[in-house]
Assembly symmetry: C2
Homo-oligomer: 185 residues x 2
């Protein structure tokens, strides 16, 4: 079976798990939206839905991490960098009709308590994002980079949750302004 | 049918929706854990699972709002008040084996995009908590109370998500320290 059927399944799964969570996502939906042959799912993911979810979370996490690192790198200050990350996430959320928030949070909340492989994948994604932030803040001379990056990640995640529920970008704007002041003084 | 069968169903639903979300929660589980007669669910909640979820979210939201208001009122400063709220949420999370985080967030992420009554109930709960915070900050003379309460709620929600996924209270501690400095100077 072509390796692009694996890729198609994984991308379809990443999209579905991120918007509707683990339990609402059926394997038939993953296959039909991914346009992959039915038999290929268990061929590529012998651990079934749980393995697929863990790998989909890992893919989403790593792609967003690369994007974050680039945006932070291109910004003149850390506060401006975070504000640009929030701007990007806000555009994506609004353009999707407020369905595309954090690609990890929905599955983290609805499945991480009952599946250790999924919890680990979600935790790894959060860890990578926080690590990217910590390195960036350290490079900008913040001695409290580790604590600060926890606060930044928490505020960004919470703002996405509130904005998605409210169908309004105001929480992202409020958090961007606060973090700009906190990080750039 | 006794009105306490309604209460039992609602409490069982509130617990299940808050820990595992909307889609993982079946009505049979709500009934069996609530110890209510099977026929009583549609008698009390003719709108079925969707109505039950909206009312369970409303109950959880309003109980937590009352608790927040009391803790904030009893604290000497707003920063100390928020730190105590985070302490309380952290104790509850750890004592539940990291399953009881925010009682609204899981359902907000896994069902609010597809059900307007559920989205509204989640949004109302977030609004009430933020309103309680805004009033408290205004009473303490903060002219930026509305923006600040958005930031506080986002940071608390994000910290609960990270702590639950990490199975570690460190994100709550980091956010409490940051908000104490932000609010009390």
């Amino acid at each position: 079976m072509a390796s692009n059927s694996r890729e198609r399944i994984l991308r379809s799964a990443a999209k579905l798990f991120s918007t509707q969570g683990y339990h609402a996502t059926g394997l038939n939906q993953v296959i039909s939206e991914g346009g992959a042959p039915k038999g290929s799912l268990y061929f590529h993911f012998p651990g079934g839905k749980e393995e697929l979810a863990a790998q989909a979370i890992a893919l989403s996490g790593s792609e967003l991490d690369t994007e974050f690192a680039q945006v932070l790198h291109d910004a003149p200050t850390p506060g401006e960098g975070i504000a640009r990350v929030l701007g990007l996430l806000g555009t994506r959320l609004a353009e999707s009709g407020f369905t595309k928030g954090c690609p990890v949070a929905t599955t983290a909340l609805d499945a991480a308590s009952t599946s250790e492989p999924i919890r680990q994948a979600c935790n790894d994604a959060f860890f990578d994002w926080q690590h990217t932030l910590t390195e960036h803040l350290t490079a900008h001379g913040r001695p409290d980079a580790d604590t600060l990056s926890t606060v930044v990640l928490a505020a960004v995640e919470g703002a996405l949750l509130l904005a998605r529920t409210r169908r309004d970008l105001a929480p992202l704007t409020a958090v961007a302004a606060h973090l700009r002041t906190t990080l750039d003084g």
